[in-house]
């Protein structure tokens, strides 16, 4: 195990990690997650996108219209400023990218493992935080809301689609999320590849 940790990465795998670091920069520029909403009165649909540092509508007006819909059931207004996670997420991403570049100076398999651990932690914490965030918005309703349906909560799905009253909400990773997932896959592949290389060296 120890030998694997300090095994120097192959040139190809070093380049792959550099590639991961470069591609991760794109995550600053594209949304990570997207929630889409359709209802009879919104035949063209409404969309909300979660970025590394902000929440926006799929069109300039969608977020405003989602909030307008939500106010009938007493949901809090969704605004980027009320979600503190969005403040430090850009730094977490910077740390991941930094890690990829450091690996070029210190190209050991251990760095790839660290990257995997970091990405899994970011993924798990991110998803659980996202779930908690959805739970709060969906359950923490204004008791004076115009529409109160006994026993009804409006938590959007973490992944997949869900019907709430006359609205269908779907939640899926967007391009940024896919890049993060793909980065993890690439690192796991590198680990598998290095492990195989070690075995063949031993033999």
């Amino acid at each position: 195990m120890k030998t694997l940790l300090f095994q120097t990465l192959s040139k190809r795998n070093r380049l792959l990690i550099l590639g991961v670091g470069l591609v991760l920069i794109l995550v600053y520029l594209i949304p990570i997650w997207s929630i889409s909403i359709s209802a009879p009165q919104y035949p063209e649909g409404l969309g909300m996108q979660i970025w590394i540092n902000k929440i926006t509508g799929a069109t300039p007006y969608d977020l405003k219209n989602i909030n307008l819909l939500n106010h009938y059931i007493g949901m809090q207004e969704i605004v980027s400023e009320s979600i503190p996670e969005l403040l430090f997420m850009p730094y977490v991403l910077a740390y991941l990218i930094f890690g990829a570049f450091i690996t070029e100076l210190y190209p050991k398999v251990g760095m790839a493992i660290l990257g995997i651990i970091n990405l899994v932690i970011v993924g798990l914490v991110g998803l659980s935080d996202f779930w908690r965030w959805e739970y709060n918005y969906g359950h923490n309703l204004n008791p004076e809301a115009p529409i109160i349906v006994e026993g009804m909560a409006y938590q959007p799905p973490l992944l997949g689609c869900k019907e709430m009253l006359n609205i269908t909400a779907c939640s899926y990773p967007s391009y940024g999320g896919m890049i993060l997932g793909l980065s993890l896959v690439v690192l796991v592949y590198i680990l598998w590849d290095e492990n195989r290389r070690k075995k063949s060296n031993v033999v």
Binding site: P60, Y61, K64, N65, L68, Y72, P146, I147
Partner: protein, 639 residues
């Protein structure tokens, strides 16, 4: 009791009767025999193929229909107030109806013209004339709203208007009623002594903004100038105006103006006119007029203007020619190639067609002139004639073209549309119309590139066509499919006001360009309130400005205190940024204002003078949400 065999005979007889050609029910039979219903059926959720813009005649408005379904989509208020949305009443649009005669909240709208680039419809603007109080309007085809109204001075009865040149460089507007120019109290019988004049106005359209301005007026002999169409391609430089009453009769025109065998089509070289103006041949002339412009989300600005450049035909040789045209021509239409100028002599037994090339060949040769009227040479009838359609119908009026070499002429007296071939002048089909057809319109039919497929005939009378609704029956339009060799009646439909003329545009040219909302951040209205937190009440003496917001499902501020006699301006901004969510605003018993419909992101103002003490409700009138009924509040008026 009938015997069984007799019963069979009777049944057979009735069946046969149904196939006996019958003048009156001819079209109905033809419709039954075809699959017309399926060809006009547009399934729920499906879209129509064509937009039809119909003028509203004496309603002063323009209406928008879908073709082939004939569904009415919208009435665009232009020259008449519209209580439904406050047009002409509210502080933003009331100045749109200002004229030098004061506030004129009605008109008589005859002709719709589409803006063109290279002779093809470009889907930017529609133009509409006001016949009664001479005006000309520009309707924007992004918002389907009236953006500009220009009054035309030194004219009366703006009938031959607004006809566009090939690139919408200019719109033409000519006098229907010749009058003393400048206006003066003169004896009416001086009309026949040349005391009355007509004018032809060139209205310039700014290429980028569409803004209208008067370039030039030409003082023409005092006839009645009736209709116009401008040239295309080789006849690009020319516009053609029909005229009647060249007799200059001033009473009992029915007889007096029908005496001469021929009146005229006036050929007008507008490029030459502009040249003469630039050479300084036009002189300063009086005439007060008003230009009203409604910029996006700003109150309309009404500007009083004074004076025009006037040109006399004798000072600008080569600018105008009269082409004799039998009897009292009404329509004058130029075919898609720009070569043929078709006259619609409403009392004539032929449809005369002038040739543009022939006109160019002979126009300056003395031997082809018969005389001259006030500096305008009169060409010989035969010299410019390309041909005559013999005995087409009774009362030919207007002609449109399908781009396949066929022309369609409406015939008022015999209530039909005749299809005939350009070049051979043969009538190929008679299509009955119900009844008394005036204008007709083919999709793109007055442009150089007709889309062909549909033709509508616009009828004046609908006796027996619909369920009777008292003495005044709706006017109607009839839809024909002209895509195959034989035109077929598909449907007819009642219309708003009198459907005088129309322009039809393929839907694909407009539907994706339509505005969905006013972006709030671009709202430049001086009284806009873009955020609910900025809603406020500002008192300036006895004037109260209420900066109000409307959003589903409340107004803010929602409780208003006022004193009797105070003037309250409710500047309501619709904070919505969602397509098709206007909010309404109305106050109970408001005597001088109607209702507002405020589009998403728009600000409009409701003026209200606080009446006697009491509590007055105000509310949203456009069903906006589940809590629309709750979108209401009160104004308390104290002594």
């Amino acid at each position: 009791m009938l015997k069984k065999s007799n019963l069979i005979l009777v049944t057979l007889g009735i069946t046969l009767m149904a196939f006996v050609p019958n003048c009156k029910k001819g079209a109905a039979t033809a419709t039954l025999a075809s699959d017309a219903a399926s060809r006009v059926y547009v399934a729920p959720g499906e879209k129509d193929e064509v937009y039809a813009f119909l003028s509203g005649g004496f309603s002063g408005q323009m209406s928008v229909y879908g073709i082939p379904s004939a569904r009415l989509f919208k009435i665009i208020p232009v020259f008449s107030v519209f209580p439904e949305n406050g047009y002409g009443f509210d502080e933003e649009t009331k100045d749109m109806l200002k004229t030098t005669h004061g506030y004129v909240p009605w008109d008589d709208s005859h002709h719709v013209e589409a803006s063109m680039t290279d002779g093809k419809q470009d889907g930017r603007w529609m133009f509409l004339n006001a016949n009664n109080t001479p005006r000309l309007a520009r309707i924007d085809l992004k918002s389907f709203e009236t953006k500009e109204i220009l009054e035309i001075p030194n004219t009366a009865g703006n009938h031959a208007s607004p006809f566009a040149t090939e690139n919408t460089e200019y719109l033409m507007a000519a006098t229907r009623f010749s009058v003393p120019v400048p206006q003066a109290s003169v004896a009416i019988d001086s009309f026949s002594k040349g005391g009355f004049k007509g004018t032809v106005t060139m209205v310039k359209v700014d290429k980028n903004t569409g803004r209208l301005s008067i370039e030039l007026q030409v003082l023409v002999p005092g006839f009645n100038y009736d209709l116009s169409h401008c040239g295309k391609k080789k006849s690009h430089d020319w516009c053609f105006f029909s005229s009647y009453n060249s007799e200059q009769a001033h009473k009992m025109l029915e007889v007096g103006a029908s005496k001469k065998d021929k009146d005229f089509i006036l050929a007008f070289n507008w490029v030459r006119a502009k040249e003469c103006k630039d050479q300084g041949k036009a002189y300063n002339f009086g005439g007060e007029y008003v230009n009203n412009f409604h910029d996006e989300n700003k109150p309309a600005v009404s500007t009083k203007l004074s004076g025009v450049k006037m040109l006399n035909p004798k000072d600008c040789p080569g600018m105008m020619y009269y082409m004799p045209t039998p009897k009292s021509p009404h329509g004058t239409d130029v075919d898609s190639t720009g070569e043929y100028i078709v006259g619609g002599g409403k009392l004539a037994s032929v449809i005369p067609v002038h040739s543009f090339s022939k006109m160019m060949e002979v126009k300056d040769k003395k031997e082809h002139h018969s005389t001259e009227i006030e500096g305008i040479p009169v060409l010989k009838y035969e010299s410019t004639l390309a041909g005559e359609v013999q005995k087409p119908c009774l009362g030919p009026l207007h002609t449109e073209f399908d781009g396949q070499g066929y022309a369609y002429t409406s015939c008022f007296v015999s209530s039909e549309v005749v299809k005939w071939k350009l070049g051979t002048w043969e009538v190929v089909q008679h299509l009955p119309a119900y009844y008394s057809v005036g204008h007709l319109s083919i999709v793109g039919g007055s442009s150089s590139e007709p889309y062909g497929k549909y033709l509508i005939a616009m009828n004046k009378i609908t006796k027996d066509r619909y369920l009777p609704v008292g003495m005044e029956l709706p006017q109607s339009a009839q839809l024909y499919d002209i895509s195959s060799g034989k035109a077929e009646l598909l449907s007819d439909f009642p219309t708003v006001g009198e459907p005088h003329y129309s322009q039809m545009i393929p839907a694909k040219l407009l539907m994706d360009k339509t505005a969905k909302l006013f972006p709030l951040e671009e709202n430049k209205h001086p009284y806009a309130t873009k955020n609910e937190n900025d809603a406020k009440i500002v008192r300036l003496g006895s004037t109260v400005h209420i900066y109000m917001t409307a959003i589903r499902s409340h107004f803010k501020p929602d409780i208003i205190e006022a004193r009797t006699g105070e003037t309250l301006y409710f500047h309501v901004t619709n904070l919505e940024q969602d397509y098709d969510i206007p909010h309404g605003f109305a106050i109970g018993g408001a005597p001088n204002m109607t209702n507002l419909l405020i589009m998403p992101g728009e600000t409009r103002t409701f003026k209200w003078v606080a009446p006697k003490p009491g509590v007055y409700p105000f509310y949203c009138t456009d069903f906006c949400s589940a809590l629309h009924q709750e979108m209401q509040q009160y104004i308390r008026v104290s002594p």
